[in-house]
């Protein structure tokens, strides 16, 4: 069963890819290097206070802007185990699924969860449990095809399976 649990770091609406990872750092694609600058232009303290397993919660249109996969890569490499938002920008959504960063759309949870709350997510059921506030929210489960992508651990593994490559 796939689960995530951690403390919440919370942001607002329209968190764009330029603040997730500013273009001045795009001259590398090394995840650890990118993680160092994650969220820098929005929240300089992020990288110092994030702990492995923490959950990011945000408002509408998370990840809007450029197609840079460096954005979900940086978030994942910084240790974030899951992003919950009211809505995601579509390219970010695709990229996160394709690289295996779990993300969930849940307007209720995104509005209710507070910075610092301890939250547990069950990806199989789509259930989000707010341990601090003792509440449970239900997110829409992924469609079948996306579940296949996630269980294959991303698009690349999925394609390898489809092409019958197992070297």
């Amino acid at each position: 069963m796939m689960q995530a649990q951690g403390k919440v770091i919370k942001y607002g609406d329209n968190v764009d890819t330029d603040v997730i990872i500013p273009a001045r750092y795009l001259n590398t694609s090394d995840p650890q290097e990118l993680a160092k600058y994650c969220m820098e232009d929005l929240d300089k303290t992020f990288i110092d206070r994030v702990n492995s397993g923490d959950i990011m919660v945000a408002g509408r249109n998370f990840g809007c802007g450029s197609s840079r996969e460096h954005a979900p890569i940086a978030i994942k490499a910084a240790g974030i185990s899951c992003v919950i938002a009211k809505t995601f920008a579509r390219i970010f959504y695709r990229n996160a699924i394709n690289i295996g960063l779990p993300i969930l759309e849940c307007p209720e949870a995104a509005a209710d969860i507070k910075e610092g709350d301890e939250v547990k997510v069950d990806f199989d059921t789509g259930e989000i449990i707010n341990i601090t506030q003792n509440k449970v929210y239900k997110s829409t489960p992924f469609p079948q095809f996306m579940q296949e992508l996630i269980s294959a651990n991303g698009l690349i593994e999925y394609i390898r399976k489809q092409l019958g490559i197992n070297n």
Partner: protein, 420 residues
């Protein structure tokens, strides 16, 4: 229930007679695109798949445009990595410095996209090619890798919003003002996951350059793609630039749209998007006193001939304000050469502007015009996010080439009428 233009193109490429909004499909790709920032990540993923060859060496295009000519050692290493892959896989459509341009100006110019195509690009502004009546959308590097290996991509069939254009534009009003007006109206997530379909008798009054500017910014409304109905101008453009056969798709009479907006082009005024979101728009008469430090004219949004001609018309015989730096970056080598032959560079240089080689450069805060803390720029680009053009406390105001050029002269944001 009928299909939208986008749905028809997707159905044809999925080998289906019919598709419905929300359906997940696999579509065949006519072109897979990448740049110097996204392709290195895609190559790493491609190598993990374990196939030797790309699906079709003619149907991949790679354009090093973001940090080129390379701004530092790291970006040079990235380009070298891409170049080695291109040579090894014998990718035909690679455009080296000297032939390149900003990808979304270059690709249509090279005739690599025509009406009815399905295109994915590891760059969010890949939606630009919808101006030609193609389905074209931005994706990430992993999708690019998968596309290069298999020639296919997965899509959720989108719903659509219809924009019916009527009338014609007033002087000094352009495609940029139309799209800023629309984004201001529907918001940066107003078309999230959806297509923006542009139709109506007002379309015929718009040049191809104006249409490219409009579809370019569909992503700034959160859209999956923007698309124009094909008309005589589209066909003339394709005949001039491409040998590829095209297919024209019209929406069914009974196609379903989530919303329909009637846009009367006569009512549109020059529009400026204030920091830090493209939907934070004001018409030029409501801008107030905004002093500026820099003007940037160019990019994949407004780096085409029509854009440079308007800017030159405003700047001709005038002097740029002494406290304003003006940087003009044409979209491609072809645009560069034509602007030079038309004498536009003379107007720019005599007015006190610099002309850069085609590059993304300042648009994404890469190089060639980074802003310091507290500085303000008027730019004809497409994004004004926090830190987009430099320091997180700098500001970008998005506008048309006419407004940008006029503002360069005035030292503050003004309408072209004020300096002419």
């Amino acid at each position: 229930m009928g299909m939208t233009m986008t749905q028809k193109i997707l159905a044809a490429h999925a080998g289906l007679d019919k598709v419905q909004a929300g359906e997940l499909i696999k579509a065949k790709l006519d072109l897979v695109l990448g740049n110097d920032v996204t392709t290195p990540v895609a190559i790493k993923e491609f190598n993990k798949i374990g196939v030797d060859k790309v699906f079709d060496a003619n149907k991949i295009a790679i354009v090093p445009d973001h940090f080129t000519p390379n701004k530092d050692i790291k970006s040079a290493e990235q380009c070298k990595y891409v170049r080695e892959f291109v040579q090894e896989k014998e990718i035909v459509n690679y455009f080296e410095i000297g032939q390149m341009g900003i990808e979304h100006v270059l690709i249509p110019e090279k005739g690599l996209v025509v009406a009815g195509d399905v295109v994915i690009g590891a760059d969010s502004h890949t939606c630009t090619y919808g101006a030609l009546g193609a389905f074209s959308t931005g994706i990430g590097s992993t999708d690019m890798a998968a596309g290069m290996a298999t020639g296919e991509a997965w899509f959720k069939v989108p719903e659509a919003i219809k924009f019916e254009l009527k009338g014609s534009l007033k002087p000094w009003v352009s495609g940029k003002d139309i799209i800023l007006h629309i984004i201001g109206m529907i918001g940066v997530d107003g078309a999230l996951y959806q297509s923006m379909e542009f139709t109506g008798e007002g379309v015929s009054a718009l040049s191809m350059d104006a249409r490219f500017t409009i579809t370019n910014m569909a992503i700034e409304a959160g859209a999956k793609n923007g698309i124009f109905e094909v008309d005589d101008k589209t066909i003339a453009y394709m005949k001039e630039h491409s040998q590829k056969p095209y297919t024209e798709y019209k929406a069914d009479e009974d196609a379903v749209y989530t919303k329909t907006f009637e846009i009367n082009l006569d009512d549109i005024k020059p529009t400026v998007a204030f920091p830090h979101l493209p939907d934070n728009t004001r018409t030029i008469d409501n801008v107030g006193e905004v002093k500026i430090d820099q003007v940037v004219i160019g990019s994949c949004t407004n780096g085409r001939m029509e854009d440079l001609r308007v800017a030159a018309k405003v700047l001709r015989g005038k002097k740029i304000h002494p406290y304003v730096r003006t940087i003009i970056f044409p979209g491609s080598q072809k645009v560069y050469l034509q602007a030079m032959e038309e004498g536009l560079f003379k107007d720019f240089v005599e007015a006190g502007a610099v002309v850069s080689t085609p590059t993304c450069g300042p648009c994404l805060g890469g190089h060639m015009g980074i802003l310091a803390k507290g500085e303000r720029a008027v730019a004809t680009t497409n994004r004004n996010f926090v830190g987009r053009m430099g320091h997180p406390e700098s500001e970008v105001y998005l506008a048309s080439p006419a407004v940008a050029a006029a503002s360069a002269v005035a030292g503050k944001i003004v309408s072209p009428e004020e300096v002419m």
